[in-house]
């Protein structure tokens, strides 16, 4: 996904003079050719993430469209007040593009992980959040964001599904006959499909949890909802509760545990510890559905 991001954004720089890229050293090598071609619009501020976001706000105020990129904990967590004030409060937009996600950097430790990024953006007004589950979903999302000035977060991951599902709506991947609906966000789809392979449940997928396709969910008439999200567990509980406030339902929210994972290992190890591998998801889902 990272390579796709670099290629797409590099192409956008050539096509649209509004496009700018703001970096804080992360991925600067990958953008070196783009920087040579567009020295005024590919801006590497060094290891200065507060400035990176402030620069994006200033660029946007002059009419440009900045793509701001770093590891998720640096682009979102570290610069939270800049995101709130230098973008939101100024009524300015930007496209934040992160890598690392919740535990891609499993071997690096918690300093390079951000399970809370989507929850943090949920405290702010007007953010669209894309969590692609396949590299082929990435170019369309980035290109669509070039044509407006809204605030967009694209959360890239080294975890991915076998197939791409373009479109920002909630897509039914497998239809069951009961009222049980498993909603999966981004790269956890394959694990969720495997976990529910022989269960009579509907599996729906989205790579755009904000704004969440509440109409799509309501159309499925769910009596039970299981949210499977690759970031902090319960992040979407408020959204689901509001979407179904007039419908009797039960809900279960699965995601990355709130307990800090201090062990290293691979992303697969972390997925297992958080109960987000196929076996863990199956355990939680069957227990919930009874």
């Amino acid at each position: 996904m990272r390579e796709t991001f670099v290629a797409t954004t590099t192409a956008l720089l050539g096509e649209d003079p509004r496009t700018a890229v703001v970096l804080a050293d992360i991925s600067a090598d990958a953008f070196a050719p783009a920087m040579r071609r567009h020295p005024d619009r590919v801006i590497n501020v060094g290891i200065r993430e507060q400035l990176m976001t402030g620069v994006a706000g200033g660029l946007a105020l002059t009419g440009m469209r900045p793509y701001v990129h770093s590891y998720a904990p640096f682009v979102v967590d570290r610069a939270y007040e800049q995101i709130k004030l230098d973008l939101g409060h100024q009524d300015a937009g930007a496209v934040l593009v992160s890598i690392g996600a919740s535990y891609d950097a499993s071997a690096e430790g918690y300093t390079h992980q951000s399970p809370g990024d989507v929850a943090l953006l949920d405290t702010l007004d007007g953010w669209t959040v894309h969590v692609p589950g396949h590299p082929d979903e990435v170019p369309g999302l980035l290109r669509a964001a070039a044509h407006h000035d809204d605030r967009v977060y694209v959360r890239l991951s080294s975890q991915q599904n076998g197939r791409a599902h373009p479109g920002t709506d909630l897509k039914v991947i497998r239809r069951g006959r009961t009222g049980a609906v498993v909603v999966v966000v981004g790269p956890l789809l394959d694990a969720a499909l495997e976990a529910t392979r022989d269960l009579d449940v509907t599996v729906a997928y989205t790579h755009t949890p904000r704004p969440f396709d509440t109409d799509g969910l309501r159309a499925l008439r769910p009596a039970e909802v299981v949210m499977v999200e690759p970031y902090l567990e319960g992040t979407s509980s408020r959204i689901i509760a509001a979407a179904l406030s007039d419908v009797p339902h039960r809900s279960l929210h699965l995601g990355v545990s709130r307990t800090e994972e201090r062990r290293y290992g691979t992303p697969a190890d972390h997925a297992r510890r958080h109960g987000l591998d196929a076996a863990g998801l199956r355990r939680s889902i069957t227990e919930f559905l009874g």
């Binding site: 003079p17 700018a20 703001v22 005024d40 619009r41 801006i43 501020v45 060094g46 200065r48 507060q50 400035l51 976001t53 402030g54 620069v55 994006a56 706000g57 200033g58 660029l59 946007a60 105020l61 002059t62 009419g63 440009m64 900045p66 007040e81 800049q82 004030l85 230098d86 409060h89 100024q90 009524d91």
Partner: protein, 222 residues
């Protein structure tokens, strides 16, 4: 209109008394010189893409800022009468969405210099070579670390940007070596913040490198 004409009436009108808070009053002469003699911006050109930009980073105590903007016709003088009232567009910190002529909404310290850096980069990338970017900070505000990210970056890249630091010695621990020593790689002018001719001389020349004008005024509380 001269500052001596605008100052007592409008400042009194907005503050409601003759005793203006130091944070409001410390910037009055600088703001007047900027809007009267330096900036290429007016109520008619407030949305022009190649206008000069003035960013008030020191968003607290904006009474002088509001008084100058009203005197220059960016918004009606009557707006000054209900500061932070339920129907007022003018708060204790300015909001760019609500006030014509205000480039950024500030209040939380340490945001203006980063935004100004992006503004200068954006103007340069779009070929608006005549447009200048100014940002005003307080000396205590410089304590915020975010400013130092911008100071170092602007110096390293030779970014055309003019910062103004109003020094009324309000930083809790002071500035050993002086404020100028914190702007390594910048051009520096230290001037009397009440001297209009000196302020104009420091602010008017166009420079293709970052420049800081340190405007010294009477110490806070004096």
């Amino acid at each position: 209109m001269t500052v001596t004409a605008v100052e007592p009436e409008l400042l009194t009108r907005i503050t409601g008394d003759e005793k203006h808070s130091p944070s409001a009053y410390s910037t009055l002469d600088i703001l007047w010189v900027l809007y009267d003699r330096v900036l290429r911006v007016s109520p008619e050109t407030v949305d022009e893409p190649d206008r000069d930009r003035f960013l008030l980073s020191k968003g607290h105590g904006p009474a002088a800022y509001y008084a100058v903007l009203a005197a220059k016709g960016f918004f009606p003088v009557t707006w000054l009468d209900d500061l932070a009232g339920p129907h007022s567009r003018l708060g204790h910190h300015p909001d760019r969405v609500l006030i014509p002529g205000v480039e950024i909404g500030t209040g939380s310290l340490g945001h203006g210099l980063g935004l100004a850096t992006g503004t200068a980069l954006g103007l340069r990338a779009q070929g608006y070579d005549e447009a200048r970017t100014f940002v005003l900070l307080g000396d205590a505000e410089l304590d915020e670390g975010s400013n130092h990210e911008a100071i170092a970056y602007a110096a390293a890249t030779g970014l055309p940007l003019t910062a103004i630091v109003v020094d009324n010695q309000s930083a809790t621990h002071g500035w050993p070596g002086g404020i100028a020593s914190r702007f390594v790689g910048w051009g520096v002018s230290v001037v009397d913040g009440r001297d209009h001719a000196a302020l104009e001389a420091a602010l008017l020349p166009r420079r293709d490198r970052p420049h800081v004008v340190i405007a010294v005024v009477e110490p806070k509380g004096s």
